[in-house]
């Protein structure tokens, strides 16, 4: 089966660059599955997992938002953070989750609330994928 090159880039450097048969991810308005030969596209991603398929293997990555650029033979994911399950610091994510929950319970102004919400989402996403 034909493959497409997937590269995942973060400000701290490239995370992954490899050939895969299919990319599935969660964009802002629903799941996206991308096969080789897709039309060029740009879509924002949610805080979620990206699944990369090659034969019977599936790799997962935790991304904290960002967006995805598709070309017929290449997919680039630009995220502020992206980790594979092995490199997720479970303890740190756990702590971040607790902190965010505490902040959500303490009633504060809107901006802090939103930030805590996002932090909680990121932490839970990491924990989901690490398990």
């Amino acid at each position: 089966m034909s493959t497409l090159t997937v590269s995942v880039v973060t400000p701290d450097g490239p995370v992954l660059e490899d050939g895969f048969e299919m990319v599935s991810c969660k964009a802002e308005n629903g799941e996206l599955g991308i096969l080789p030969g897709h039309i060029p596209m740009v879509a924002p991603l949610t805080i979620s997992s990206v699944r990369l398929k090659l034969e019977s293997d599936t790799r997962q990555l935790a991304v904290s938002g960002g967006f995805l650029e598709v070309r017929p033979d290449k997919v680039t994911i630009l995220a502020q953070a992206a980790e594979d399950p092995a490199s997720i610091d479970v303890q740190r994510a756990e702590e971040a989750k607790q902190r965010a929950e505490q902040r959500l319970q303490a009633k504060q102004d809107d901006i802090d609330f939103r930030r805590a919400e996002l932090a909680l989402k990121r932490a839970m996403n990491r924990l989901d994928i690490a398990r």
Partner: protein, 290 residues
């Protein structure tokens, strides 16, 4: 007796200078290794920044309908200045250059402190503006020597948010651009609003399908882009800081060497003078006995 005392004095100064020299030499080497690490960090960031710039430029150039507050120029009631300095001194003109430039700009552009606000990275800059009673809106002290994106993310997104909330109407960043290990240039760049996007678009940029639409994408993309610019400047500034410190320490080591040479010369002269005097005294004594 006098010459003996001064001999000891000179010896003491030689000792203390060579101790200083050991320290500056060590600091030079530490900075050199930090600099090459910082250079690598900056290189690792390049693919991300190039890609994000390419996508932003292609959206901005493909369609003029796409509007976003971050692309629009508006009347400037308040200006934000983002400045990157270090936490410690001993880095030559690294901090003074960038602070002087920003200070002069502010003095010439603004009459009152209501017209601007400053966002600072680094203790030196923070204390500089505090001492002069200038408004510092946000700051980070104790930035790591090899920062990663997480270290600056909060400050960057808060700063971008200030622009979105119309607390500030433009944002300019001041930092030392790393040109080479021996040359760092004080640079100022306007970050927000993003006005020059179309110029950056190259002919080869492809046309995209936008999912769901351009506005939605710009909403996600532009803050991320602005934050990445701030992070890029921070990496650049950090590499410059280590380079500046390395140069400053090398100069200090060279000066110490020169001083030691001078002192050694005076020491030998004084020693020679003392011996000559002793001989003269002995000869004098012998002559008196004959």
């Amino acid at each position: 007796m006098k010459s003996l005392a001064s001999l000891r004095d000179i010896q003491k100064r030689i000792d203390s200078t060579s101790k200083t020299k050991q320290i500056t030499k060590a600091m030079e080497m530490v900075s050199a290794s930090k600099m090459s690490k910082a250079e690598e960090n900056a290189k690792r960031f390049v693919p991300y920044s190039e890609k994000i710039q390419e996508v932003v430029a292609s959206i901005a150039s493909s369609n003029m309908d796409a509007v976003h507050p971050m692309l629009e120029k508006r009347d400037v009631k308040k200006t934000g200045y983002f400045v990157i300095t270090s936490d410690r001194g001993l880095a030559g003109a690294y901090n003074s250059g960038v602070l002087k430039k920003l200070y002069e700009t502010i003095q010439s552009r603004h009459q009152s402190t209501d017209e601007y606000t400053i966002i600072v990275v680094g203790r030196v800059g923070y204390e500089f503006f505090r001492k002069r009673g200038m408004p510092v809106a946000k700051s980070i002290l104790g930035m790591s020597d090899q920062p990663n994106f997480n270290d600056i993310k909060d400050l960057a997104s808060e700063t971008v948010q200030m622009f979105v909330d119309e607390e500030i109407d433009e944002l300019t960043i001041y930092y030392n651009h790393y040109k080479s290990a021996i040359s760092q240039i004080v640079t100022s760049k306007q970050l927000l609003p993003l006005t020059d996007m179309e110029e950056k678009a190259t002919a080869s940029t492809s046309q995209y399908e936008y999912e769901p639409n351009q506005e939605q994408i710009l909403k996600v993309l532009l803050p991320q882009y602005a934050e990445s610019l701030i992070y890029g400047a921070l990496l650049d500034g950090k590499a410059s800081e280590h380079a500046a410190r390395m140069t400053a320490m090398r100069n200090a080591t060279d000066n110490a060497n020169e001083l030691i040479d001078d002192l050694t010369l005076s020491y030998n002269r004084a020693r020679q003078a003392a011996i000559t005097q002793e001989i003269t005294e002995i000869i004098g004594g012998v002559a008196a006995l004959e």
